[in-house]
């Protein structure tokens, strides 16, 4: 694929359920980011993966949030025991990692609604 893809595009879940959000980065991009965007707000950094290094998890809002990146490619963001305040658009981005000033390419996002 030409760009970053995310699935599902929309997810409606009940409070207390677990959800998994998937991100497929651009082939060859070794840096991957997850952000959260609430309605009308900016992007909130959640976590970033850089090659085989330990991920920077400093933005995860609670221990209910976790993310994995398997094989240096696909990433999954998991939210356990979802709460209504978790409702937001979750955006994934990837970039080449050989330079710190590479632009990030964003996916279309997953809109999560927790009822």
């Amino acid at each position: 694929g030409a760009g970053v893809s995310q699935s599902p595009s929309n997810k409606v879940t009940e409070k207390g359920k677990d959800v998994e959000l998937r991100c497929d980065p651009i082939s060859g991009h070794t840096a991957l980011y997850w952000y959260r965007q609430s309605l009308g707000q900016g992007l909130e950094f959640l976590i970033y993966f850089q090659g085989n290094s330990a991920p920077d998890k400093s933005g995860l809002p609670s221990d209910r949030f976790s993310a994995e990146r398997t094989g240096g490619s696909v990433s999954t963001l998991t939210i356990q025991r979802t709460q209504q305040e978790d409702s937001a658009v979750y955006l994934c981005a990837s970039s080449r990692s050989d330079r710190v000033d590479n632009e990030q390419f964003f996916g279309p996002g997953t809109r999560l609604t927790v009822l």
Binding site: Q41, G42, D56, G59, D101, E103, F106, P108
Partner: protein, 112 residues
Amino acid sequence: SQQGEEDPQALSIQEGENATMNCSYKTSINNLQWYRQNSGRGLVHLILIRSNEREKHSGRLRVTLDTSKKSSSLLITASRAADTASYFCATVLRTGGFKTIFGAGTRLFVKA
């Protein structure tokens, strides 16, 4: 509060006018980037300015950076209705690896 705060929060102009948006940040940065977000194309990178640069141009875009004031501005000249979008500045921290902090954005509306 978050690194990277834009002002104004919203801006409405006529087609053909120039639009200026400002961004302030708090800590030392490696570079500052501007992104645009609209419903049709999602978030798209516009331009990057490094901490040792003061001004950069790309088409109708002009970005300035003043590291002494920890501020940047984005100027869009001869605006078009298609420029209607939200504009975000994003800072890559000097000691933060690749961690990127986005501001809350400026919503620009260009009237045809």
